[in-house]
């Protein structure tokens, strides 16, 4: 187990290193000179050159990459060009907001996804199964921005139940209930795809588990169908479910970027969108890196957890 864990952590670190290199190189292709963007069009060439030197933009690419990596290791993610603040100071609150949204979406996806999947499996072929699976197919296929716009049109503008966007009421910011009312729509929309995927996978796993010999034995022992299903069968399906939920967390973080833009949720995605349009390279670099780190770490945790629950997974 220790060797497996070390190997898995090592490969995660390699992936992260690769991400830093790709992010660094991709952003070299963005047009425009950050130094001129900072100083404005009236700045002299001399001032622009001086700032390019200060920012290290005149160094060779490997030098710039080494400086960038060194900064990351010491917690220096650079300074935002458009906001003039340390990137870390700017992004940490945004990451917090994104995690609130992603966590709410994940809870919705897991609770409803697993429940739907188990009940559908239990009533395989029935009306509930067919409706649930058709809806989940719809959920998995619906583009999140489209679903978001539809939700705003129907539930915010139409029925007036929810605000159209933001995280708090701009007039009276704050309050848990205010947060919940702003969180509801984006969380549900962000949960659509993972909910559908989890529901379908749970259904498949439970159907497979139900055909196991131990189910016949348990049934013969007179155990109630409910206990057998929710306690024994679901436990057997758990390792696969944890793997898929781990993956969904990663996709959720990618998906909430669109949701944040549609609902103006002040999270990492919205910040990344703004930073990209503002050519603010340090924020874009750090934002993409944050998402990658969370993705890799969650996958690492889910792999390790799966290995603990199901030792066969280590061989895979």
């Amino acid at each position: 187990m220790t060797l497996f864990s070390l190997k898995r952590i090592g490969s995660a670190l390699l992936v992260l290193l690769g991400v830093t290199l790709i992010v660094f190189l991709l952003l070299q292709l963005v047009p425009g000179d950050p130094a001129r963007a900072i100083l404005g069009q009236g700045a002299t060439d001399e001032a622009v050159q001086q700032l390019r030197n200060e920012l290290g933009l005149n160094d060779s690419l490997p030098q710039q990459y080494a400086t960038y990596l060194g900064g990351l290791l010491t917690g220096d993610f650079g300074t935002s060009i458009s906001q003039g603040l340390p990137v870390l100071e700017l992004l940490l609150p945004k990451l917090g907001n994104t995690l609130i949204l992603a966590a709410a979406a994940l809870i919705i996806a897991v609770v409803f996804g697993v429940t739907l999947g188990v009940i559908a499996a239990r009533k395989q072929g029935g009306i509930f199964d067919r409706v649930a699976m058709a809806l989940s197919l719809g959920g998995a296929s619906a583009p999140v921005y489209w679903a978001g716009l539809l939700a705003v049109a129907a539930l915010s503008l139409g029925l007036g139940w929810f605000p159209t966007g933001g995280m708090y009421n701009a007039r009276e910011p704050g309050g848990f209930l205010d947060l919940i009312s702003h969180l509801a729509l984006p969380a549900v929309v962000a949960a659509l795809v993972p909910l559908a995927v989890i529901a379908r996978l749970t259904r498949a796993e439970v159907i497979e588990a139900l055909s196991g010999d131990y189910v016949t034995v348990l049934r013969a022992s007179g155990i109630s169908e409910r206990t057998m299903l929710w306690k024994h069968v679901l436990r057997n399906a758990l390792p696969s479910l944890i793997g898929i939920i781990g993956l969904q967390v990663g996709y959720l973080l990618g998906g909430v970027i669109f949701v944040e833009v549609v609902f103006q949720w002040p999270g990492l995605g919205q910040q990344l969108y703004t930073a990209i349009t503002a050519n603010d390279l340090p924020i874009v670099q750090a934002g993409v890196l944050f998402v990658a780190i969370v993705f890799v770490v969650i996958n690492l945790i889910s792999d390790l957890l799966t290995a603990v629950l199901d030792p066969r997974a280590k061989a895979a």
């Binding site: 950050p34 069009q41 622009v48 906001q83 003039g84 129907a154 139409g158 933001g166 708090y168 050519n279």
Partner: protein, 540 residues
């Protein structure tokens, strides 16, 4: 019925229910019922996240509309009259009570207002003015700020010295007469010569942008990036106190989302709605306010490209574009066709009965043939995808593309994000690019002198098309040197006439800059400027 068909029907029914809910929902949108309790906070939906709140170093109109409420300069503009009543704004004393210009036009002596305090209690006086101007101009001053200096070069380029005469008198000496100087002092946008608290600048250093301290009718409360900038009323304001207690600027980059937020009462006022939503909003009781801000949506010709060097080609392009069709059709009358190189809100705008380069594709073809391009040519047009004052740039560029294709000019459109675009544009038009689009202008005619000045060729200035016309340059230099208004206006008319004849850039439309207000917003006036004053705005 087989299983597959059944599943398909269920999916279809589900989709219908959702869509019907959406349609029913949107059709019931309406203005909030009167009689509800309203908070005294005005929430404004703005187009993008603002830049830094250091007004001297910040760029863009979106940000200056916020900074303008907190900061004041020595010279101001009267923003209380709508465009319909005043085609261009009047200058007015602000932190300077009066000023005197020496007969040779070289010395400006400002008599400052007494008893004014910054929001942090620091007194406003001649030392504060000296401190602020040196921050933007004097490389040897400890408070010198490269970004503020870069953004205000256009203003201080002829400043030679600043003298504190007494506690409330400051004298600025120029190396040559510079007639647009006072109007430029009242400008905002990219760099504004407004006064910041010297104590705050020293206290916060680089972080002053997050602790803006001015003398204006509103003061800074907080900023949550991506969410809001909150200002509160300055109860110790030296002038007429603001009506509102609080103003929140909420960045909502998507135009449709801004409209939704207004309909759902989350904002009271929004900038730049989607053009196709305006009629419905008006029908539903929202108030549309329009103005004539002093900017033009135009194409800059790249004088390094062979076809564009021929004035007949530039004239042909100008005549091939159906401005009326674009303004009335595509833009749904949110803009006016522009045929002149100064906006109507400019004091040197040439209002005459004739319309130069009226839409005439046949004449355009003849001009192209005369210039040696009977079969047209291929070129590239660059534009942004969004941005303040840009309206719907991609659709507008495509409209132009179709117009030009009709006379044989094959246009490839290249697009960029707004801030990337500004940076790219300011580097000067690249080889192979025939035209680039921009939306800009000022209330001073000097703006035309900036964008065509041979001394300001990119990347060292905004003459991005490399325009170099000695006749134009002489006319600009003469107009700058004029020390009395009457002569200056006459000389700027000469500059305008050359610009219309020679077309260094091709004007397309003048934006009406629509704002949509909830019916409970009272007293909001949109003057002929890019920014507004919220002092007299109230909520019913």
């Amino acid at each position: 019925m087989n299983r597959k068909t059944h599943r398909h029907r269920i999916r279809l029914s589900g989709a219908c229910v959702v869509i019907m809910a959406a349609v029913l929902g949107t059709s019931s949108c309406m203005v909030p019922a009167s009689g509800e309790a309203w908070s005294d906070t005005l929430v404004i939906g703005i187009e993008s996240e603002p830049d830094i709140l250091d007004p001297q170093g910040a760029g863009g109109w979106v940000t200056y509309r916020i900074n303008h409420q907190m900061f004041e300069g020595l010279v101001g503009q009267d923003l209380s009259q709508p465009s319909a009543e005043a085609a261009s704004t009047e200058l007015k004393p602000l932190l300077a009570e009066s000023w005197d210009i020496s007969a040779d036009g070289l010395t400006y002596t400002f008599q400052l207002r007494e008893g004014v305090k910054f929001h942090d209690g620091t007194p406003f006086n001649a030392q504060a003015v000296d401190f602020n101007i040196r921050r933007m101009w004097d490389k040897d001053a400890p408070q010198y700020d490269v970004r503020a200096a870069g953004n205000t070069t256009f203003l201080w380029q002829f400043l030679e010295d600043i003298t504190v005469v007494d506690d409330y008198t400051v004298a600025l000496t120029m190396s040559q007469p510079f007639s647009p100087f006072l109007r430029l002092m009242a400008q905002g946008g990219t760099g504004a010569a407004v006064m910041m608290s010297p104590d705050a600048v020293e206290k916060y250093g680089d972080q002053i942008q997050n602790h803006p301290v001015g003398t204006g009718p509103f003061k800074f409360e907080d900023r949550v990036r991506g969410e809001r900038v909150t200002l509160v009323r300055n109860d110790d304001y030296w002038g007429e106190e603001a009506e509102l207690e609080k103003v929140v600027f909420r960045p909502i980059p998507d135009a449709a989302a801004r409209v939704n937020s207004l309909r759902n009462e989350e904002t009271d006022m929004i900038a730049v709605p989607t053009p196709d939503s305006i009629a419905k909003l008006e029908d539903d009781g929202f108030v549309i306010t329009e103005a004539a801000p002093p900017h033009i949506w135009y194409l800059t010709a790249n004088m390094n490209e062979e076809p564009m060097q021929d004035v007949r080609v530039r004239q042909a392009i100008s005549m091939a574009i159906d401005r009326e069709g674009m303004a009335d059709g595509l833009l749904e009358s949110t803009a006016l066709p522009a045929y002149r190189n100064q906006a109507p809100a400019n004091s040197a705008y040439l209002a005459s009965a004739d319309t130069p380069y009226k839409y005439d594709p046949q004449k355009a073809k003849e001009l192209l043939a005369e210039a040696g391009y009977p079969d047209g040519f291929s070129t590239v047009l660059e534009t942004s995808v969004d941005g303040s004052g840009q309206m719907v740039p991609v659709q507008m560029a495509e409209y132009i593309q179709q117009n030009l294709a009709a006379v044989g000019i094959d246009v490839e459109i290249q697009t960029y994000e707004w801030i990337s675009y500004i940076s790219h544009y300011n580097e000067g038009l690249q080889d192979g690019v025939g035209m680039a689009q921009m939306s800009w202008g000022m209330s001073t005619p000097y703006w035309l002198g900036i964008v065509t000045n041979v001394n300001l060729i990119a990347p060292n200035g905004p003459n991005v098309g490399y325009y170099d016309n000695p006749e134009m340059q002489d006319a600009i230099d003469a107009a700058i040197l004029a020390t009395d208004d009457e002569t200056a206006t006459k000389l700027w008319a000469d500059v305008n006439a050359i610009a219309i004849e020679d077309l260094p850039f091709i004007p397309i439309v003048n934006d009406k800059s629509p704002y949509v207000l909830s019916p409970r917003v009272e007293g909001f006036v949109l003057a002929s400027e890019e920014w507004y004053d919220l002092t007299n705005v109230s909520l019913s």
